[in-house]
Amino acid sequence: MTRRHKEYLTGYAFIAPNIVAFLAFILIPLGFSLYMSFHEWKLLADPKWVGLANWIKLLWFHVEDGRIVANDPHFWKYLGNTIYLLIAVPLTIVVALILAILLDQPLKGRIVFRTLFILPVVSSTIAVAVVWSWLFNTEFGLINAGLRFLGIKGPSWLGSIEWAKPAVIIMMVWKQAGYNMLLCLAGIQNIPQELYESASMDGAGVWTRFRFITVPMLSATIFFMIIMGIIGGMQAFNAVFVLTKGGPAEATTTLVYYVYNNGFQWFRMGYASAIAWILLIIILAFTLVQWKYRKKWVYGEQGN
């Protein structure tokens, strides 16, 4: 055995534990789930090949009484719900930007504030969702109590079709703002100070400097946050599971919830796999967009 071969072997030995787990629990299941999406598969029965039937049911339409009807209207409804909840993404970024700008000022105690703003990020989604379902309580929740002080009769947040989605969004913004704030803060602190100084010399005010220096210089960060927010938001499940169980009247059932119900409540494993693969394709598309522009983002990071 030559020295080179020995090095090869050492190399494989080093990656072996990781790659075995990677193959067994990441790569093979990934392929296997695509295979499963072409089957009808109750958990205990043998899988039955059904070709594209699951995919056609999910994505195709048929005509009923002269109207075009989706083969699985639920799927489209849940996809719509999931996309609706993505409203949280831009809202989170706006809040994060405000926080980051405030924390960028030379103020005392900003470390403490920064820590406070990150607490929701590191908290268990389940635990904070339990807390928020109490905050959203119609009769005695803190939010409606606050509204009552202002003379407003608060809605039945988690019990009404119109308000359940906004309630979930509010909690998501609260939970995620600190994460994006850290990214914004890093982005802001990478902006060369000279830009602001020379702009001030030219008489630019706070708003002008923000609009024409901060925002453009942060564009890569903002883009990154949008993509990551969409990728994360498409997988929304935990908060909804605790807050609303997907209700009322399926108003907050998300795609992942549909995967969960099909796979682990109704044991339609093949159908659940097909839904999961559609989710994967959507996320893959956003990932590719992000990779395409990643160089810019990385460049921006190293530009300082």
Binding site: Y8, T10, G11, Y12, F14, I15, P17, N18, I19, F22, F25, I26, L27, I28, P29, L30, F32, S33, M36, I98, L99, L102, Q105, L107, F113, T115, L116, L119, V122, S123, S124, T125, A127, V128, V130, V131, S133, W134, L135, F140, L142, K175, L182, L183, M234, Q235, F237, N238, F241, V259, Y260, G263, F264, A272, A276, W277, L280, I283, T287, Q290
Partner: protein, 282 residues
């Protein structure tokens, strides 16, 4: 001239004042849920349903913090979460650091291709793998065991990526000297690379710890009996059962939140670094 300096000072002070007021307002809004959680956890059940809401309970019910352990198997869940989290954190640090060393320093055929496949899977949603994983584990009879909770999570492409990038920044001279002295690769890895990588390892450990401690979907589906639940799953199901006993639910939430908040406060700089390295979702 002095006038200009003065107005500028006034302006700066006013701006600072506005910033402070805003910061304090937002900070209050952000920590309100936490305060309300603690406040409710200390109230008697019938004192919870009042208007206007009471912030400081007249008689704090510390007994809830005893009672909750008796009402539900919290202690068992705590043990499960702790064991599973530590096992996965340790396991991932080991497999990731070894693989990262291989990818960063050793030459072998297919190395870069394999690494690229790792990277490609980074963003893929976990939910795509979950159904096959579940059926594989069910065939193996692993459902509702610690094996099911731990072993499928021992590979972490993100951790491998993170550590590889860090290892690449370690100067090669140190290793070259050790190789000339006849050190084996494994010795170099364990005696030189690992000790030099403590900050990176701590960053990864912080992330993995918080991710696993807070994870929900996987333990929800692979466990089926109360004694195998983790804290997050136990709490979610507890909420379904005792949906109106808010003081007890808030007490349980406090207990679930404390470990990750402590880990965060003590590892804040590692956490921040991890997020900036392209980190993890919450």
């Amino acid at each position: 001239m002095t006038d200009i300096v003065l107005t500028r000072r006034v302006k700066t002070a006013a701006w600072k004042g506005i910033c402070y007021v805003l910061l304090v307002c937002i900070a209050i809004a952000m920590i309100m849920p936490f305060l309300w959680m603690v406040s409710t956890s200390l109230k008697e059940l019938n004192k919870v349903f009042t208007f206007p809401p009471q912030w400081i309970p007249e008689e704090p019910m510390w007994s809830h913090y005893v009672e909750v352990w008796q009402q539900v198997p919290m202690l068992r869940w705590y043990g499960n979460s702790t064991f599973v989290t530590l096992a996965i954190t340790f396991g991932q640090l080991l497999t990731s650091s070894m693989a990262a060393y291989g990818f960063a320093r050793l030459k072998f055929p297919g190395r870069d291709k394999i690494f690229l496949i790792y990277l490609a899977t980074l963003m893929l949603p976990f939910h795509v793998r979950v159904i096959p994983l579940f059926s594989i584990l069910s065939k193996m009879g692993w459902l509702n065991t610690y094996k099911a909770l731990i072993i499928p999570q021992l590979a972490n492409p993100f951790g491998t990526f993170l550590l590889r990038q860090f290892f690449l920044t370690i100067p090669r001279d140190l290793e070259d000297a050790a190789i000339i002295d006849g050190c084996s690769r494994f010795r170099i890895y364990s005696r030189i690379i690992i000790p030099l990588s403590k900050p990176a390892l701590a960053t990864l450990a912080t992330f993995v710890f918080m991710g696993v401690w807070n994870q929900f979907f996987w333990p929800l589906i692979v466990t089926s009996t109360p004694e195998m639940r983790t804290l997050a799953v136990g709490l979610a199901l507890f909420k379904g059962r005792f949906s109106t006993d808010w003081p007890l639910l808030m007490t349980a939430s406090v207990i679930v939140l404390i470990p990750s908040l402590i880990v965060f406060v003590f590892n804040q700089r590692f956490f921040t670094k991890g997020i900036l390295l392209g980190g993890v979702k919450g």
